[in-house]
């Protein structure tokens, strides 16, 4: 048995030698902790027994070993559960709107930049700037921009004559139903340049002359876009989609700094998954339930990625 594993490694010791530093590191930082995480999700590890660490007792008799999972999913009295349901809905809306809006804007931007010929690189770099701004800075500055009475958004709307004189009637962006948009818009602002960049690179892989050839064959602008550009951009689009899904579901820095001066609590319509898991784990020190929620989230993410892979498999073959 051992021989069956060991022999190929010995035969390819150069290759495995090259991989060794990364494997060692990843086992310590990625894989062992993951195993521990699953273990912790069954523990009753909370503020009162933080000192016990990993030797905290397993979840109690009544709830059974799945106690943490059951309570975050269904226990009505659990504060984590209540917020989590809202956060799942909010994160789903947030991720889908941000990802698809970024794809639409990025595609339009890339087509526009493509017209610029020699100046393409210049315009692309200029449009990409928001993507370089750190996400926590984006959250911080938009948290100030959205302020009801002193923020630049409401005051600009007022200067344009859209909002009236009475400041108390101005929209409250950082509480109530508008919070959803208060976190979505900055995220789109930061994300769409990435889509633009990938689409723009994708457009460069379109063989020159293909559009002219199609035009000679009588294809109109829409037909050419639909049957030439879109298929050629599918690999880029699939990467943007995957990145958008993963990055936005795990969005943390932006909502954290946007709401409540760094507390990251966006309320019922604005709270997202990562901030709520972080608050419950590292501020309420409820490691057991935090770990359980994280495990569920990770499994969910793998399902999303698997689905993505099924859909875009053929497109990905082209760029390998």
């Amino acid at each position: 048995m051992i021989g069956r594993i060991w022999r190929p490694i010995r035969q390819h010791r150069v290759a495995w030698g090259f991989l060794l530093p990364a494997i060692l590191g990843m086992v310590l930082v990625h894989f062992l902790p993951l195993v521990q995480l699953v273990g912790i999700s069954f523990l009753d590890s909370r503020r009162t027994n933080l000192g016990l660490g990993l030797s905290a007792p397993a979840v109690g008799e009544g709830a059974g070993i799945l106690g943490n999972y059951l309570s975050i999913f269904s226990e009505a009295s659990d504060p984590f559960h209540l917020g989590l349901v809202d956060a799942v809905v909010n994160t789903a809306i947030f991720t889908l709107v941000v990802t698809f809006a970024s794809i639409a804007l990025g595609l339009a931007g890339a087509l526009l930049v493509e017209r610029m010929g020699r100046w393409r690189g210049f315009w692309r770099a200029l449009l990409m700037t928001p993507w370089i701004v750190p996400a926590y800075v984006v959250g911080l500055i938009w948290g100030v921009f959205w302020q009801q009475d002193s923020g630049v958004v409401n005051n600009s709307l007022h200067a344009l004559g859209i909002l009236g004189e009475d400041r108390s009637t101005w929209p409250m962006w950082l509480s109530g139903s508008l919070t959803r948009w208060a976190v979505i818009l900055p995220a789109i602002w930061r994300e769409w340049p990435y889509a633009l960049l990938l689409f723009s690179l994708g457009l460069q892989s379109v063989p020159p002359g293909i559009h002219e050839a199609a035009q000679l064959d009588g294809a109109g602008p829409w037909t050419r876009f639909r049957f030439l550009t879109v298929p050629l951009l599918m690999p880029a689009g699939s990467l943007v989609l995957l990145h958008g899904l993963v990055y936005n579901i795990y969005s943390f820095n932006l909502p954290l700094m946007l709401f409540g001066a760094g507390s990251g609590n966006g309320g019922r319509q604005g709270d997202l998954l990562m901030p709520i898991i972080f608050r419950n784990t590292f501020q309420r020190w409820d490691f057991g339930r935090g770990a359980a929620a994280t495990v569920v989230l990770t499994v969910g993410m793998f399902l999303v990625v698997a689905l993505w892979y099924r859909v875009f498999r053929s497109d990905l073959e082209r760029i390998r």
Binding site: T129, W189, I319
Partner: protein, 626 residues
């Protein structure tokens, strides 16, 4: 030229214009962030969209002939005249200094500045006659006390200070605990002397009053000194809490042989010869105006400029006033309501039957007193100059330990970048160039780590760190505190470095794959070992890839808040952690938040624009390959 060519040009112009508009809109939040970092926080809180104006808050209102001289905090002096149609600003001089106090003596205006020392200005032409810079004052002090310590004054913060010209002498001092004495300027010789606290003067002084007949009252933190100018000596002294009623007062005015001692909402008339309080005026219960900001007196009344308007009180009324009716409340009548009520009155001055008033929003007015006060003319001070407050960045460094955060972020980001890329080089090369069983499994595993949230690793790692700390402390081999991984440099750097290895492998692999295979084959034919082919040939050839990977890792670590929040301690706080702490503690300091955001963004923006071509090419090498 053909029509088609014009059309093509027109269309090109249209698309370029559209792109320019989009680019501008897209940059707007960043530009606004930088612009806001240079604004006054009061303007940010008020939601003003334009430039901040230099702070032209009224400091002094000095009656002069048919008008009044107004001095402001930013060193603007306005000569205001009474004309038939209103109050007209006849002359304005910007000294371009932070002015702390003004004093008018006949044709000469004296200005005290924490930044530029003492200035002598002609009261008619408003031109500067002479200047005694701070360096000269400092020199005079060190001549007097060679071993003395000269304070480091903050020119913006020293606002409440005092200057007074009496006869041939000018007295000046700064309301700063560190300031060591009273500056005495001789008008004729231009020489500077010092009255040092603890020697000529018993305590620190922050206000001067002219009592007439060569006497100056010096008000300080322990009491009031009665100073005789010729011969120069302390004639008498009164201490707070002993002779004088209050602990210490904000504003003192001389009334003949009495002092009017104003606290926040109460004023006492203290007779110097009798050494006792002869009358108390309680503005909290008696005057609806509230806090006293300015005081002046004519023969019959004392005028209070308060946060809520102007009030006059009869000077000769009884010793103690207990109810509203005995106060003569005189709110200025104004056709459009009463602007004074809202904004507060910073200056009042009485001269020749006229009362001059200055509001905190730049309003000025002149009133005649005939039974009640009636505003006859009013006007407005010119606004201060447009300014950019670079001081915000200095304040940022003072309010929070930003230098330390920046250093920590740089050390951690650079350390992680180097380590992570170095670790990833080997694996990336193996994945790109070598064939071996398990290759697919390894690359799949390393990719899969990218779909797992950071918190999944953070929870167990944090608990493990606590566990290591606990057991290493109990073992006794590592000293009293054990191995502290939370808050240690190397803990965070090692963790991040490995954390970013899969990501680095993924980018670097594409660069190795893009290298021509013959390169190393040729090297190996020349007798190089596999190792030498890698290290001496392949690695130098992927240098651009190393740079790109490094930039990505740097950008990611620079923007990392989750791990940093949990795993750093005070000495290792990074910029994001520091900014989050700051945002929690100073929720309304929008100016400093924007300054912090600007400082956190600029390094990565510069990095991006320097290496933009390479970054763009490296992000998805498969995509743009034709």
């Amino acid at each position: 030229m053909r029509f088609g060519s014009w059309r093509r040009r027109g269309s090109k112009l249209f698309w370029t214009g559209l792109l320019a508009v989009i680019a501008l809109l897209n940059l707007l939040p960043i530009l606004w962030m930088v612009f806001s970092s240079l604004k006054d926080n009061r303007d940010l809180q008020a939601g003003s969209l334009g430039f901040s104006r230099s702070q032209s808050r009224l400091v002094a209102m000095l009656p002069r002939r048919e008008g009044v001289l107004v001095g402001t905090t930013n060193g603007d002096i306005h000569l205001i005249r009474l004309e038939s149609h209103g109050l007209v600003v006849r002359g304005t001089r910007s000294l371009d200094i932070f002015a702390a106090a003004y004093s008018l003596q006949e044709e000469t205006l004296w200005v005290l500045s924490g930044q530029d020392g003492i200035l002598q200005v002609d009261a008619s032409s408003l031109s500067e006659r002479q200047r005694w810079p701070m360096s000269r004052i400092r020199q005079a002090f060190l001549e007097r006390l060679p071993n003395g310590t000269w304070p480091d004054l903050d020119p913006v913060a020293v606002e409440a200070s005092s200057i007074l010209a009496v006869g041939d002498q000018v007295f000046a001092t700064f309301r700063s605990k560190a300031f060591p004495g009273v500056i005495v300027l001789d008008r004729k010789s231009g020489g500077i002397r010092f009255l040092v606290f603890g020697q000529e003067l018993p305590f620190a002084i922050d206000q001067f009053l002219d009592l007439g007949r060569g006497r100056v009252a010096m008000v300080g933190d322990k009491g009031v000194v009665l100073w005789q100018t010729a011969p120069a000596r302390t004639a008498d002294q009164f201490l707070w809490g002993q002779d004088l009623p209050a602990e210490r007062v904000a504003l003192v005015v001389a009334l003949d042989d009495s002092l009017l001692l104003c606290q926040r909402e109460r004023a006492d008339v203290y007779s110097l010869p009798g050494r006792k309080v002869v009358r108390t005026i309680d503005t909290a219960s008696g005057l609806r105006g509230g806090r006293i900001l300015a005081v002046t007196a004519d023969d019959r009344r004392i005028w209070f400029g308060t946060a809520g308007g102007i009030y006059g009180v009869d000077r000769r009324a009884g010793t103690q006033i207990e109810d509203d009716d005995s106060l003569q409340l005189l709110a200025p009548e104004h056709p459009e309501g009463n602007p004074w009520m809202a904004s507060g009155v910073l200056g009042v001055a009485y001269s020749g039957g006229r009362l001059w008033m200055g509001g905190s929003q730049g309003e000025i007015a002149m009133g005649k007193i005939s039974g009640s006060l009636e505003v006859e003319r009013d006007g407005r001070l010119p606004e201060g100059k447009r300014t950019l407050r670079f001081e915000n960045f200095r304040d940022l460094w003072q309010k929070m330990d930003f230098g330390s955060y920046l250093r920590n972020s740089l050390i951690i980001s650079l350390g992680v970048t180097v380590l992570s890329v170095a670790l990833a080089l080997f694996s990336a090369y193996a994945l790109a160039r070598l064939r071996f069983p398990g290759k697919e499994a390894f690359s799949l595993m390393s990719l899969a780590t990218q779909a797992i949230p950071g918190v999944a690793f953070l929870i167990p790692l944090f608990m493990t760190f606590l566990w290591i700390q606990k057991y290493s402390r109990e073992s006794g081999w590592f000293g009293d505190r054990g191995v502290q991984l939370v808050g240690a440099w190397w803990g965070v750097i090692l963790l991040y470095a490995v954390f970013f290895v899969p990501f680095s492998i993924w980018i670097l692999r594409a660069f190795f794959q893009a290298l021509p295979k013959d390169l190393e084959a040729a090297a190996q034919l020349d007798g190089c070992s596999r190792w030498a082919a890698f290290w001496k040939v392949a690695v130098p050839a992927v240098r651009p890839g190393i740079v790109v990977t490094g930039v990505y890792v740097f950008l990611s670590v620079w923007d990392e808040l989750l791990f940093a929040w949990v795993l750093t301690a005070e000495k290792t706080y990074t910029v994001p952690v520091g900014i989050r702490l700051f945002a929690g503690n100073y929720q309304t300091r929008f100016d400093l938040m924007m300054a912090a955001a600007t400082v956190a963004t600029l390094p990565v923006l510069v990095l991006f624009f320097l290496l933009q071509r390479r970054i763009v090419a490296g992000i998805a090498p498969g995509l743009s390959r034709r």
